[in-house]
Symmetry: C2
Subunit: 540 residues, 2 copies
């Protein structure tokens, strides 16, 4: 089946794009240019399927869909794609038209955005940010009544790292050195292996760091990046934008989304036989959307594979704090590599971390970093140069990244409340993950692997043939058809599996575990009722 996908690429891409393309009746925009090398399973990433208003055919404006960069047309990002646009329109309409809907609010389960669904920020982190933002507070006596002593202390220490305490200045393009020292120490404490602050590049969230590496590694469509299917679509979008080729490797749903080295090898060899120079392997651990936490042995196999094949290992580790099951543990790929005896000269490894996930959920602050090891100094200088073009990442995000990697310790004033907040959030996430997983597994024709980590469930829906035909009649992918029906019936927003990639002929959706606990019963009820009606309507 998989060889079929890749060999039939061109014809099938066009065919499935026509099949899966949602066209509104007045759709008049020109077709995106044909895609040379995307297997059908991935066509959803690369076709321009978002709702398009008609081009103004009388327009005299110089820029048209035909004249813009085709890589922009090609890239898709379903997490904020079509279904979210529909949901936003519904939400707007709900304000004035409550009675027209069987629900009174839209619940956004499409995006890993915890604080938008009621999760509170960690108090100590926000205290430190506020003090750094308005440092003259530190000179006021009232401040001691308003802020914890350790947040005041930490703010002073951070400000001491910043020349002139100028939090409004551009910093070093890799980020403030003192904060990188703290982050490196945090990495070392986590892994038991040293980390070098000069290997750290602080970025506005992890996404710009991913873009930087894609831009570095991809010269043309002849350069490929091995990506898990299903994957978080930043990778497919970024590869498309930078003109490379996505080489898929399929996670195995039957074995809890296991990663088989034999499949990696096979995909690698097929790509090479087509003249693609495969540059890197992306691994998301814990997984998004799939939620698995890799077994350490599996990680060792992956590291060895990259070493043998000369691949850069791009390790998306942003969910490292989100592990919910006692039989799994997060191990950084750097720790695994160093434990195998691979050092700086042996393996090229980039680890991405972010302040958006974990128990802190500070998505809007745009903090993150990549730790870059195992590159020659001349290539490192090129990475630095790329970072320097945008000067530096935002200072608040840099500060948050250092707090995440060096939170309150036993004995600190804030330690107890910090631990209570942290444990409360993580245990609640584990609980909500289990509740939703069980609810999904109870639905007819639905199977859902457990979420060992991350923030998502990725259930598989066995859609009856009637439903698939109804979807085709609406020129919609079957999973998108299901998700739109779900949205219209319940107000719950999830993302069709085709936004992430899936084995062709299988259908999934990604649902976050993030609505607050008090909303979960209602979501489960509405989902269950909807699914039953849907199956009643379309059951064979």
């Amino acid at each position: 089946m998989r060889r079929f996908l890749i060999n039939q690429a061109k014809g099938l891409v066009d065919h499935s794009r026509r099949q899966h393309h949602h066209k509104s009746p007045s759709f008049l925009s020109p077709q995106p240019r044909p895609l040379a090398s995307s297997p059908p399973a991935l066509s959803r990433f690369f076709s321009s399927t978002s709702e398009m208003s008609a081009s103004d055919s009388t327009s005299s404006l110089p820029v048209t869909l035909d004249s813009i960069n085709p890589k922009v047309l090609k890239c898709e990002y379903a997490v904020r794609g079509e279904i979210v646009n529909i949901a936003q329109k519904l939400q707007e309409d709900l304000k004035t038209n409550k009675d027209a809907y069987p629900f009174d609010e839209i619940i956004y389960c499409n995006i890993g955005n915890p604080q938008s669904l009621g999760q509170l920020p960690i108090k100590f982190f926000r205290e430190v940010l506020a003090l750094c933002d308005h440092a003259s507070l530190l000179d006021e006596s009232e401040t001691h009544g308003l802020f914890s002593t350790d947040s005041i202390d930490r703010a002073w220490r951070i400000l001491d790292h910043i020349p002139g305490r100028a939090t409004g200045a551009y910093s070093h393009s890799q980020g403030i050195k003192g904060l990188r020292d703290v982050i490196a120490a945090g990495i070392e404490a986590r892994d038991g292996f040293p980390a070098d602050p000069n290997d750290i590049f602080l970025t506005d969230g992890a996404s710009p760091a991913v873009h930087m590496m894609m831009q570095l590694l991809l010269s043309s469509e002849k350069d490929g990046i091995l990506c898990p299917i299903p994957q978080y679509p930043l990778y497919s979008a970024s590869i498309a934008l930078h003109g490379g080729s996505l080489v898929p490797y399929y996670l195995d749903e039957a074995t809890g989304w296991g990663l088989e080295i034999s499949d990696l090898k096979k995909q690698l060899e097929e790509a090479r036989s087509k003249g693609i120079s495969v540059r890197a392997l992306v691994v998301i651990n814990p997984g998004n959307p799939t939620g698995q936490v890799l077994a350490e042995e599996n990680q060792r196999d992956i590291v060895n594979f990259c070493k043998q094949e000369g691949l850069v290992l791009l390790a998306d580790e942003v969910y490292q704090e989100n592990v919910y099951v006692p039989d799994k543990k997060f191990h950084s790929f750097k720790k695994v590599a160093r434990s195998l005896g691979y050092g700086e000269k042996d393996i090229s490894l980039v680890s991405f971390q972010s302040v958006s996930k974990g128990y802190y959920g500070e998505c809007g602050k745009r903090g993150g970093y990549m730790e870059v090891t195992g590159f020659t100094s001349d290539v490192r200088e090129q990475i630095y140069k790329m970072a320097s073009v945008n000067l530096c990442s935002n200072i608040s995000g840099q500060i948050l990244a250092s707090l995440v990697m060096s939170p309150p310790k036993p004995g600190d004033d804030s330690y107890d409340s910090y631990m209570a907040e942290r444990d409360g959030i993580l245990s609640s996430m584990a609980k909500r993950a289990k509740t939703l997983e069980d609810a999904l597994n109870s639905l007819e024709g639905v199977t859902c692997n457990r979420a060992e980590g991350a923030m998502y469930l990725f259930p598989r829906i066995n859609l009856p043939q009637k439903a698939i035909e109804a979807a085709e009649a609406e020129k919609t992918a079957p999973d998108a058809f299901y998700c739109k029906r779900l949205l219209n019936a319940t107000g719950v927003v999830v993302v069709p599996g085709s936004g992430f990639g899936q084995v062709p002929g299988t259908w999934h959706f990604r649902c976050t575990i993030l609505p607050q606990e008090d909303k979960i019963p209602a979501i489960v009820n509405r989902l269950t009722d909807f699914h039953k009606s849907f199956m009643d309507e379309f059951r064979n």
Copy 2:
């Protein structure tokens, strides 16, 4: 001379790159790939001239300069380039080796980074940021003793725009709607023409917005962007990274860096005759590095030119608050276009604004936006899609952008102190600009146009032939040679003119006006003494 540049491109690029290439004795890295189309005047943007350590020839690591994306090799960003690396090493050495140097500190005049040189942030802005960072402060009675009433009020209003007051959540990918409303109102108040919040895309500083537009407009080297020479090298770097061609138009030093439509036309036609599809015109107003403020009539000519030639007008307006001369005034290009009767359907216009400049200087906060008008809705959706891949810009930066476009008004609690801070900073900038301009003009063989706006002086140095030969012997560009000598003698860091582009055979450097007033006399003295010695050494 200019036709010569472009026609002799390939041979001269190689020749001048060898001439201008700074090679340390142990330089062993492979040559960057030859560049097809960069005129010699621009070769400095596009050659990889930063200091390179030797490749580890025994390395088994897979990524090498030969295998990375050649566009990355090609791009340069001199503002944080070679001379800054040298300065940082000197600064490090100064800590332990003070006596080895004729100065006791490095003064960074290479970058528009006001707060790194002692400028303080606007108090009201930081109060609001701190309150939004740690909103529970708003529930405490002590807060009223620590914060101005209007900052508390503004924080409440901002938080009301954010669903759930969740400042840690990802926002709408264009930025928080309520903040865009405020910004649009600010634009309207400034220009007297309406602005639509849906045209605003809030970004992490202006740079990511520039990248987005370059990525949209450039499909290949056959797509060109008209850029001023000299220019702020984000433009050349971004064009290189996105694989397009920079089409230069020369600002006229003799007429205060005037922009001649006849030169624009000529460069456009030459580019077109070489098969380049010119997509846009970049105008930086007030200018960087050149500091001129365009006359309104000149702006009208530019708008008409873009309309007639079907070019997108990319207006870098980040220095709109930095105008120092009574005979010039900032007019936004949108205002000029609308005043000419051009509406949404007539002209494609993008205006970039940032919180990094003006009197606020909040570089590290990474706040900014682009206002995008005159594109069809299908193209607009593609721009939205690009913005959505990175989710949203940082919330603090978004908040700051709204404060910058809607600062305290008469009657507000903070108004008087805000105006005092603002006027103090701007009048001091005007004063420092004049002092430094006069000092530069007093130097033998140096002429310096006045800084009508922005934050820079861009003096021309007439280097004696002996100096040029000494530079060549060191395989350094003559202006870089001068700047390095200046750095080593005085500790003052400026950027060689070749980092910005200049008419071949002319030499300049860019120096900011940002060191605090009390440092200016020492800088002037050291510069004057250095220049005299330099001329004594190299005078013909």
